[in-house]
Amino acid sequence: MSGLVWIFVSAMFVSNFTLAMFLGLCAFLGVSGKIATALRMGAADTFVLVLTSLAVWFLNKFVLAEAPYLRVIAFIVVIAGLVQIVEMIIKKASPTLFRELGIYLPLITTNCAVLGLAMIQTNKGYTLGEGVAFALGGGAGLTLALVLMASIREEVELADVPEFARGVGLVFIIAGSLSLAFMGFAGLFSAA
């Protein structure tokens, strides 16, 4: 149990997907302008991450054990398929939610967080439970970073930012500062 908690906390804080592992940065830049959008994207991401984790565990266990060299291809195809299926289900089940998430869902296919999760989970040999904990933690970490960045950017919109600093450059400096702040979590729950 404590192992699962550690994996979750580690993916969320210690090795935050976005701020320490640099996964999902395109989305981080693109949809961190407004808090509401950031939250939705985070939720959608987390959902796909968990599904992917389950699928990857299944693939590793039953399909890829004999052919580890097909991992990359198998994972990317499965992820693309999963996103398509999720999209169709949401479209059927809740058209409103679909409209809100519409453009984010296909974006997730090319979100390296998802493939990154698949690869790391495989490399570390996580069990089913550990994989889900990892996916949840990673998703929560992504969402946290997204929401923090979005709220900061909404605030910075009201600041007298010098002309040359308006744009992506400052976002990276803020991300660097956030990353510095997250360094405080290093070694959390793992030290003797």
């Binding site: 097909l70 291809i73 453009i103 296909p106 070694g187």
Partner: protein
């Protein structure tokens, strides 16, 4: 300038399959054919690279074993089957999932010691190391980090700080980590931790102590080649 991946993605969004002019069987055939070609390329690349990769891995492990056993004449693997160690992997057991240690022999045929791979969480991520161990005397012969992501310039001293690494040569178990100069009165059990990287230092000690606790009875019970 496309700072908006959302719009890029909408453009890149695959068209719904239902609206196909091309019949579905043709799409599947193309994809299937492409997949087959891709598979063939990958498999042949795999066939070409596998021996080299395996060889690389073996050479690296072998070098590490020799290093921590301080240059034995030859080394062997010992597999843990049930609760006992055996030099040969029994038929049907999977080499990848069976626990093993290495044993080294000196020129005169006596045991140089055992080499054990162990891992645990350190400051940043998992620390994986191999250490040489004299099971009879209960002494560590030396250790080498196989993989870690400890802080560069600080925690990575467990790999790079020679003084620290050297201290493990011949230290008695269980090891105690102490601050430099503050001996607790059992010098042959003590290792000075790296200033500012106490946690990383203690991680190494914890891993070794843990592995010793797990393996020592089994190693002592091993009556194979070179036993007195």
């Amino acid at each position: 300038m496309s700072n908006d991946p959302a719009s890029a993605a909408t453009q890149a969004m695959p068209a719904a399959p239902a609206a196909a002019d091309v019949p579905a069987w043709k799409l599947l055939a193309i994809l299937g054919g492409g997949g087959a070609v891709a598979g063939m390329i990958i498999v042949s690349a795999y066939q070409w690279s596998k021996p080299t990769i395996d060889e690389n891995k073996r050479v690296r492990l072998d070098a590490a074993v020799r290093e921590v056993l301080k240059g034995p004449e030859r080394c062997d693997s010992l597999w843990l089957v049930g609760d006992a160690l055996t030099p040969t992997l029994p038929a049907g057991a999977d080499a990848a999932t069976t626990d093993r240690v290495f044993i080294g022999f000196r020129k005169d045929g006596t045991r140089a010691g055992f080499a054990i791979v162990a891992a645990d969480f350190g400051f940043a991520d998992e620390v994986k190391l191999i250490f040489g161990f004299d099971a009879e005397a209960g002494k560590v012969l030396g250790f080498k980090v196989l993989g870690s992501k400890e802080t560069p310039g600080l925690g990575d001293g467990i790999e790079k700080n020679e003084a620290f690494v050297k201290e493990f040569d011949g230290v008695a178990t269980p090891i105690a980590g102490v601050k430099k100069g503050s001996s607790r009165g059992a010098p042959d059990h003590e290792v000075d931790t790296i200033t500012g990287a106490t946690i990383s230092s203690k991680t190494v000690i914890r891993i070794i102590n843990g592995a010793v606790e797990k393996w020592q009875p089994k190693l002592r019970a091993y009556r194979g080649e070179g036993a007195r």
